[in-house]
Symmetry: C2
Subunit: 194 residues, 2 copies
DNA sequence: ATGTTGACTTGACACAGTGTAAATTGACAC
DNA sequence: GTGTCAATTTACACTGTGTCAAGTCAACAT
């Protein structure tokens, strides 16, 4: 049972998660995380090679806890392309706030850290596949906006649903999560459907 | 004459600009900038209180060199709201690549540095005013999309024209500048005009 | 009981990069 | 000459990451 890993490793991951959540973007120090986990700073290096890898592991832990895969699988069930687009916007859009703080940390780190960059790209690559699937379904139905190629439409949807866009609207503009979802549905529909 | 300040200060600013341009987002070290400017590291502290302020000064220097104000003034000349929107998207959209590298540095730093955050907010606040003016003009003509309040439309335009969005489309998706402008015109029109 | 193993701790240190401080040099003004 | 200003050199304090060596402690086997 992986759930039986109620070990130090998990305690560290939870501590990191906690700390990052309470201060989004401000990468916590190793000593802070250690203190929070009730463990020595050096113990962290027993479980993770370095700070970056600890944070990467934290995002993966989050994904496993929340069950991203299951959640996104739901949107795959939709029949028409339009339904699928709406379902994907809803599912991903509501997932962002859950992972925002930790993701943000990686997002900042990727600028200066190669490993963080790679991990981030992979994660966003997965997300892009969801976008591509929705656009493909739309295209198959003949419902894709005529001005856009499939690739361009995918790029556009990928950008509109990016964490940076969510951040700007909710954090900088003060939109509620409900407002965000509502308008994102409208914008994607208006932009991508013929 | 402020242009007669072809002094050490300007040499430092140019060195910083140069260095940031050649490696976007990877904040150069003080010693690198000093070397590039042909000056001792400590001389930098004679002209700028710290690293953050040096980078802030660099963005202001860029703006003064490029003449943002004049450029954006052009879009203010448009008669109809629709023309104004198009002109603003074009002007700002083409300004971004010029300032991208230096702006990106500040964008990353704002997460951990209060002064950088403040400077960034101010800059984006100015940009938002341009968005608001375009939306107001649209509203005055009765051309604003019915589903959107003036504030929401401004938020949306502000987000669509954000540097993060430009970065995602051109750097991550590989769009050319021309493609970016073209589609941004289409998306803003489709989203904001009734 | 004794030895072994693994997880964790303690304490020390190397390294990078920022920022501060003090003493010094060279040029120019009056 | 003296004062002043810009800049230099050298040295150092500080923070945070990552490494290393030695020691503790409990579990488990024999």
């Amino acid at each position: 049972m992986s759930s039986e890993e109620n070990s130090t490793r998990i305690r560290i991951l939870k501590a990191a998660w906690n700390l990052l959540d309470s201060n989004p973007g401000v990468a916590a120090r190793m000593s802070d995380i250690a203190k929070k986990a009730g463990v020595s700073r050096q113990a962290l290096y027993l479980h993770f090679p370095n700070r970056t890898e600890l944070f990467i592991a934290t995002t993966k832990y989050q994904d496993s806890q929340f069950g991203v895969d299951e959640m996104l699988a739901q949107s795959r069930a939709a029949k028409t392309g339009q339904e699928r687009l709406a379902a994907f916007v809803l599912a991903w859009g509501n997932y962002i706030p859950k992972i925002y703080a930790v993701a943000k940390t990686l997002m900042v780190m990727k600028e200066t850290d190669e490993d963080a960059d790679k991990a981030w790209s992979e994660r966003m690559g997965d997300m892009r596949e969801g976008c591509a699937a929705a656009i493909d379904a739309l295209d198959r139905d003949g419902d894709l906006a005529t001005a856009l190629s499939v690739a361009q439409a995918t790029d556009l949807l990928w950008t509109l649903l990016s964490i940076a866009t969510w951040e700007h609207l909710t954090q900088d503009c003060g939109w509620s999560q409900a407002t965000y979802i509502e308008h994102m549905q409208a914008v994607t529909r208006g932009t991508l459907i013929r």
